[in-house]
């Protein structure tokens, strides 16, 4: 993807450093401005810091045009990222608070996760899209989603080699489906690109990065945080379980909302596919992935439920952010004037 526009002193410096491709650059100043930003702001919704995290993680995915691949494992940048991650993880743990008692059988673990997934009290974006959203609002909704959905499933894949046994088989079984079961063009990320194209949106990954607000970046940065640390492999499983468990019913609403606005297959395929697919995935993720992991190693329980609670927390905030904007008649995206 292209290098994003900066959003403040830290990202300004970081993106400039990345773009210059001089691996011997002194990072002292970068660390200093970050110290200031970390003490001044709430990292969860700080545009500047979330963009930095996003950029540092992106080095491990598709990277940036004209930015050296060598930066990916640059020790100084990794140390810098660790500072942001420490603050981000602490913020998430703080929001999640103390975890309730965790079951020790797969069946009960699945039941606990289903209950958690069903307990959201936030406003329903899917209900709104089903009944009221305009084409412009649906476009905005797709732009918000695109920063994850165009690489759907990729973060969780990183956990595969870190798991064993039934949990590993379950994750592979889900991911195989996410990647289109071996049929070219059927990856969920590709179905999403088709939906975007159907609404005249640019489906290149990162095309809308400058419009994506911090809270949305936080939701994808959280996945990368879990995915890139072996110690958080349980959180990947808990995160995926909640994603799967909160997908079928909303996806059916999104598909119907699109049909209400006159769209049909293949534009609606992404959402129709998720009605059926995630009704399967949620069972596998709850029982075999999360449940299987806990039966094999009960010590993974807290990590799994931390991931599950963290995604509920962020998704709730995201839903509120989205609905509040629409209720006030404005966009939930960063406005063009703010980008500079």
């Amino acid at each position: 993807m292209k290098i994003p526009q900066h959003r403040g002193p830290v990202s300004s410096l970081l993106l400039q450093i990345l773009g210059q491709n001089d691996l011997s650059t002194d990072l002292t100043e970068l660390n200093e401005v970050a110290t200031q930003a970390l003490s001044d702001s709430d990292i969860l919704c700080d545009e500047d810091l979330q963009l930095c995290l996003f950029a540092l993680y992106e080095l491990h995915y598709g990277g940036f045009e004209r930015v050296s691949d060598q930066w990916e494992w640059h020790p100084g940048l990794l140390a810098f990222r660790a500072r942001l991650e420490t603050a981000f993880e602490a913020r998430l743990r703080d929001a999640v608070g103390e975890l309730p008692a965790i079951a020790d059988t797969a069946d009960q673990v699945a039941a606990q996760l289903f209950e958690l997934a069903g307990s959201s009290t936030g406003p329903s974006v899917s209900e709104f899209v089903l009944r009221h959203a305009t084409v412009e609002q649906v476009k905005e909704f797709l732009i918000q989603k695109s920063i994850y959905q165009l690489k759907e499933a990729d973060p969780h894949t990183w956990a595969i080699p870190r798991l064993t046994g039934r949990g590993k088989s379950a994750l592979v079984e889900i991911q195989y489906d996410e990647y289109g079961s071996g049929s070219a063009g059927k990856m969920h990320s590709e179905l999403f690109a088709t939906t975007m194209a159907g609404l005249d949106l640019d489906s290149q990954f990162g095309a809308y990065i400058d419009e994506i607000p911090a809270i949305t970046l936080a939701s994808v940065n959280m996945m990368s945080l879990f995915a890139l640390h072996r110690r958080l492999r349980g959180a990947v499983a808990g995160h995926l379980a909640i994603y799967e468990m909160t997908s079928s019913i909303p996806s059916a609403r999104y598909a119907r909302g699109l049909r209400r606005l006159g769209f049909q297959s293949p534009v609606t395929d992404y959402f129709d596919e998720h009605v059926e697919a995630d009704a399967v995935h949620e069972q596998i993720a709850g029982r075999d992935l999360a449940g299987g992991l806990i039966e094999e190693d009960p010590e993974l329980g807290p990590s799994i439920f931390f991931g599950a609670h963290a995604v509920c927390f962020i998704d709730d905030l995201l839903g509120r952010w989205q609905m509040e904007a629409w209720e006030q008649g404005r966009s939930s995206l960063r406005s063009k004037e703010l980008i500079r």
Partner: protein, 66 residues
């Protein structure tokens, strides 16, 4: 995969999860369109995409007091 590797898991309050080598036929013996290997078959009766599950069992309290 041999027939013996086919399994049906009864998910509490949810669908039947069917894995392995199998065919789903309609009442006339015609194959039901299927795009994935492991499927969830609706057990609650409320799915809009029967025979597959669409998650509706979570809304209708299926087997809630089991």
């Amino acid at each position: 995969m041999s027939e013996n590797d086919t399994s049906i898991t009864v998910c509490p309050r949810g669908p039947l999860l069917v894995r392995g080598d199998f065919e789903i036929l309609d009442d006339k013996g015609q194959p039901v369109p299927r795009t994935r290997e492991t499927v969830a078959l609706c057990r609650c009766g409320a799915s809009a995409i029967k025979p597959y599950c669409d998650g509706s069992h979570k809304l209708n309290g299926f087997e809630k007091n089991r």
